[in-house]
């Protein structure tokens, strides 16, 4: 067995792109600044040099054009991996994504499928100026026909991106920018639709994904000092969503907080809270709480710490989980 390497999150994505390109000549990587420069985050560094500028290339600065162009390439058998430089700069492509990418298989009764990956560096916490820090996953997760993947570790970044590129359907691959420079071991990881327990616990389930996973882990550690035994689940893919792992955990703990950096109103965290209430009502000792971004536009960088769901806000939520009651009191089956 080969030695397990430790790499940064950005390097893991770079590795996945390179390995996919080496495995399949039809994989093309393109977008703004991804060629000569290697991307503004250096995620595509060296790919143009290694595979040639016809396999990894710069395009005009036009996101709708990039995604639309990728659709046309899919019609001729290619597997495009396109980069939207930043979350908020993907919005010009939204019509292509919502009206064509998401719907093509369905509207052509399966005759046309689009094996493309749209990489979106997303979310904040990096001191970015405006339009560089949006958590836009809700838009994509809400759009039927898109798979939405958001890794939180280098190992997941590598394996989920390899799977995304091989997937016959379009995948929006959301990379938490704040994680680009974190390091981790490139260990084998489960596939799409499988959440993982990042930290086992017995009293509270924290459900998190993407940039919120490390925050939830820190909160769980701090909560342990307060005497709470907290489990942390990393969803890894929002579409498909692994309800089973979440429900199994909530059945054990009876209490749940969903952590999401996106604005909480009408978002992924709300969807999770609703699903847990619908499917695990009788296991719950307290309402499912959300700790999420505020219902305001993402703030200027010097104020982002007030916006971001941090450890303290998560600990406060855990405190509010009606500890005077026990899950069993609410279980109809138990009576």
């Amino acid at each position: 067995m080969s030695e397990i390497e430790t790499v940064t999150f950005a390097a893991a994505i770079n590795r996945a792109l390179g390995d996919s390109m080496a495995a399949d000549d039809d994989v093309l990587v393109f977008g703004e600044d991804v060629g000569t420069l290697g991307g503004v985050f250096r995620v595509t560094d060296g790919l143009a040099q290694r595979f040639g500028e016809d396999r990894c290339f710069d395009t005009p600065l036009a996101e709708s054009g990039i995604v639309g162009f990728a659709i046309g390439l899919c019609l001729t058998g290619f597997r495009p991996v396109v980069e939207m430089q930043f979350d908020a700069f993907a919005y010009p492509a939204f019509e292509q994504i919502a009206s064509h990418v998401a719907k093509m298989r369905n509207r052509t009764s399966g005759a046309v499928h689009l094996p493309m990956v749209i990489r979106v560096p997303y979310a904040g916490g990096i001191g970015g100026v405006e339009h560089h820090c949006d958590s836009s996953e809700g838009y994509y997760a809400h759009t039927a026909g898109l798979k939405v993947v958001t890794p939180a570790t280098p190992a997941d970044a590598y394996s989920l991106l390899r799977e995304a590129i091989e997937d016959p359907d379009p995948v929006v691959f959301m990379e938490p920018k704040v994680s680009y420079w974190t390091k981790g071991e490139l260990t084998p990881a489960p596939g799409f639709g499988q959440a993982v327990v990042r930290r086992p616990g017995t009293e509270v389930t924290l459900v998190a994904y993407g940039p919120s996973v490390p925050v939830a882990l820190k909160a769980a550690e701090a909560a342990a000092e307060d005497g709470y035994d907290v489990e942390v689940i990393d969803l890894r893919t929002l579409v498909p969503l692994d309800d089973a792992t979440v429900m199994e955990s909530v059945a054990r703990t009876g209490r749940c907080v969903v952590v999401s950096e996106a604005s909480g109103f009408a978002g992924v965290a709300g969807e999770l809270a609703a699903r847990i209430s619908e499917q695990s009502f009788h296991s719950l000792a307290a309402p499912v709480l959300r700790v999420s971004g505020l219902p305001i536009p993402y703030p200027a960088p010097m104020l982002e710490h007030t916006y971001l769901p941090g450890v303290d806000r998560i600990l406060d939520a855990i405190d509010r989980l009606q500890w005077q009651d026990t899950p069993g009191d609410f279980s109809v089956a138990a009576r």
């Binding site: 016809d54 395009t59 005009p60 036009a62 709708s64 054009g65 995604v67 639309g68 162009f69 990728a70 659709i71 046309g72 390439l73 899919c74 019609l75 001729t76 058998g77 290619f78 010009p92 019509e95 292509q96 009206s99 064509h100 719907k103 093509m104 298989r105 369905n106 509207r107 052509t108 009764s109 399966g110 005759a111 046309v112 499928h113 039927a144 026909g145 798979k147 016959p168 359907d169 639709g193 579409v239 498909p240 969503l241 692994d242 309800d243 089973a244």
Partner: protein, 381 residues
């Protein structure tokens, strides 16, 4: 001292390479006048050759059939067999001639108004009309016909055409993508992005703008200040042309030049065809609210079908007998279409879940199970 363009700092590429080869002719290219008399395209910037009588006969036949099927489709809306129909009557030359210029290896990117073009492409009429009947979104197999699903969000198909054309080029095929768009569509951002991508990547795309003067009710004068929509190609470095879109001979000839340009590795080509939508936007629209009867009458006198028919008769290529035979053929096809559309579409609600993903997500499966249970409960009740 300020910088002037003479410093070389702001030197424009126009001065280096010239723009002459990009420019459209000052007047729309025309080979047949309104009476079907052959004319010389004297002001044209490129050599446009009169197509052979055999090809023009084929175009005329397809126009006659296309017009009849178009009228039949409008009639089907009145009988409740189509939810809506956007007619292309008056635009037959634009619908037919470009499509007949294509080979089977070429790709076609139609909008919702291209039913006639799709009939001409040889796609089954009922499959074409599925979108407008409402039993499914795209009734035909785009891969089999190398014809994309009809596109309703305006101009969004143009970047697709650029990508597909670039894909064919990468694979060493000599295929061209023909992308239709309307005058209104030229105002969309994706028109700009599609043209720019095609030009930058040297993608063999013929952008065919059917300028029928109206975007539903909004006239061209409120759409653009460009001297001609063909001039929109120049800014992207795309060779462009304008043509009398009701002169099928000229459309065919300009298409020949455009396709040769693309197949020779010269990148995309833009054509603006001046034409007119004789009917309202769709059967649900009232065109009298935004245009006059006089205007419509003027365009009736420029009819593309009668114009080509006159030239073919004058040349002795067709006669009363041929005309009657083609009209009979058109009637037969219309009757067949009517009969087939009177059969109710077969609907399978459970098919809704078939093609969301190759492998359904648990969430899609759950919805499928719910609908199946509803359906079974309904059957038992």
């Amino acid at each position: 001292m300020g910088l002037s363009s003479d410093d070389g700092v702001m030197q424009s590429t126009a001065r280096q390479v010239g723009v002459e080869h990009l420019l459209p002719s000052p007047e729309p290219v025309r080979l047949l006048d309104e009476h079907g008399t052959q004319v010389l395209p004297s002001s044209a910037r490129r050599d446009y050759v009169m197509p052979t009588p055999e090809r023009l006969r084929a175009v005329w036949r397809a126009m006659v059939i296309g017009r009849r099927l178009d009228a039949q489709s409008t009639a089907l809306t009145k009988q409740g067999r189509l939810a809506v129909y956007p007619s292309a009557r008056g635009q037959e030359a634009c619908q037919v001639a470009p499509v007949l210029s294509l080979g089977p290896g070429d790709w076609l990117f139609p909008t919702y108004r291209e039913s006639m073009a799709l009939f001409t492409r040889g796609i089954d009429e009922v499959e074409v009309l599925s979108l407008l009947r409402g039993d499914r979104h795209c009734g035909y197999d785009p891969m089999r016909h190398r014809t994309a699903a009809q596109c309703t969000p305006l101009a969004t198909q143009l970047p697709h055409a650029a990508g597909a054309a670039y894909g064919m080029k990468r694979r060493g095929e000599d295929g061209v993508a023909l992308a239709f768009v309307g005058d209104g569509g030229t105002s969309e951002g994706d028109f700009h992005e599609g043209l720019n991508f095609a030009a930058v990547f040297g993608a063999p795309v013929v952008f065919f703008v059917q300028n029928n003067n109206y975007a539903i009710s909004v006239p061209l004068s409120k759409q653009t200040k460009a001297p001609s929509l063909a001039y929109k190609g120049i800014g992207y470095g795309i060779s462009s042309e304008q043509v009398d879109g009701n002169d099928a001979a000229a459309v065919l000839s300009v298409m020949d030049v455009a396709l040769a340009h693309c197949r020779s590795g010269n990148g995309p080509f833009l054509i603006e065809a001046h034409t007119y939508r004789m009917e309202a936007h769709t059967n649900a629209d009232d065109a009298t609210r935004y245009r006059t009867g006089e205007e419509v009458s003027t365009w009736i006198s420029r009819d593309p079908v009668t114009r080509l028919e006159a030239w073919l008769r004058e040349r002795g290529v067709i006669d009363d007998e041929t005309v009657a035979a083609v009209q009979a053929e058109a009637e037969e096809q219309a009757a067949s279409l009517r009969d087939r559309m009177h059969d109710d579409a077969t609907l399978r609600p459970m098919s809704l879940f078939d093609n969301v993903f190759a492998t359904p997500t648990p969430q899609v499966r759950a919805a499928e199970a719910m609908v199946r249970a509803e359906s079974e409960a309904g059957e038992q009740a």
